[in-house]
């Protein structure tokens, strides 16, 4: 299964990472699943033009972090719950 996974993480107005995003990144590293994340994009809280904020707006997502999983056929699925991403996608990747 060829998929492309983008992680959108939030950066707070003061420049610090959001706690939940940092937590999820740590879990990705610890499990080794980080190798399946193709792209990490930042959503700056005080910059609506940042790439992550634009993606959030386009995809109508109001939670961070979130993941965009793009299938080989171009279909996109958004995950806002890390555990669900693990269960439905990451676990099945080689």
């Amino acid at each position: 299964m060829t998929v492309k996974i983008t992680l959108v993480k939030k950066v707070m107005a003061d420049g610090s990472p959001c706690k939940k995003c940092a937590d999820v990144l740590q879990r990705l590293e610890k499990s080794g699943y980080i190798q399946h994340i193709d792209h990490i994009v930042e959503a700056h809280e005080n910059d609506s033009t940042s790439e992550g904020m634009q993606l959030a707006q386009t995809l109508q997502v109001d939670k961070a972090p979130f993941f965009i999983v793009e299938q080989a056929d171009g279909q996109q699925v958004v995950y806002t719950v890390y555990f669900k991403l693990v269960q439905e996608v990451l676990k099945h990747l080689q």
Partner: protein, 241 residues
Amino acid sequence: MTKPLNTLQLQLEYSERDPEAILELAFNTFDNIAISFSGAEDVVLIELATRVTDNISVFTLDTGRLHPETYRFIDQVREHYGIEIETLSPDYAELEPFVKAKGLFSFYQDGHQECCGIRKVAPLRRKLSQLDAWITGQRKDQSPDTRAHIPVIEQDLFFGSQEKPLYKFNPLAHWHSAKVWETIHEYDVPFNELHHKGFVSIGCEPCTRPVLPNQHERAGRWWWETATQKECGLHASNQSK
């Protein structure tokens, strides 16, 4: 047979540890273990468990008398985490004669024990007989009378036996309600919409009502009974203490 655990030693070691460490101990020690989900705010247990294991097994008791909001919430949790939630129903062979003989609201006269026995305790006993350990969201701050001494790990002698030991983990025992809600908000954990309507401790619809500000949360459960009777037998060890 499960290898006996030294629960006293573990309780000493883990009594001050955070819930994730206790969950890690639970999942590393037992494969045949499940989370008991009440449909209230102990959904944080599921959230915390997702951080330490990929193999989550969750069950809930469908008494048939839950609020519609609770049923919707159970499904929302299933969808949110992409997990199965096993819903346990009462045995109709027990339930039907009971309702036929006593009607649907006998608990207001007779006390809740009989109805809870059929709708909750018996299905729970059936489920627990298949497990080596279970995880609950019980907290000490929930009931001053009956939950003040909850350990983070204990041998469950009510539902288990010496021959077939059953262990119970209570990772949130030391958490206060405020900490639970902090986690719910910080991690966008779904919660039962009844909390917006003044409900704190949520159980069956006929036996739960909202509490007033500064009233204790258990005051909304089985309000026609005295405080020391306000347990449904799911955590029977609480009652003997």
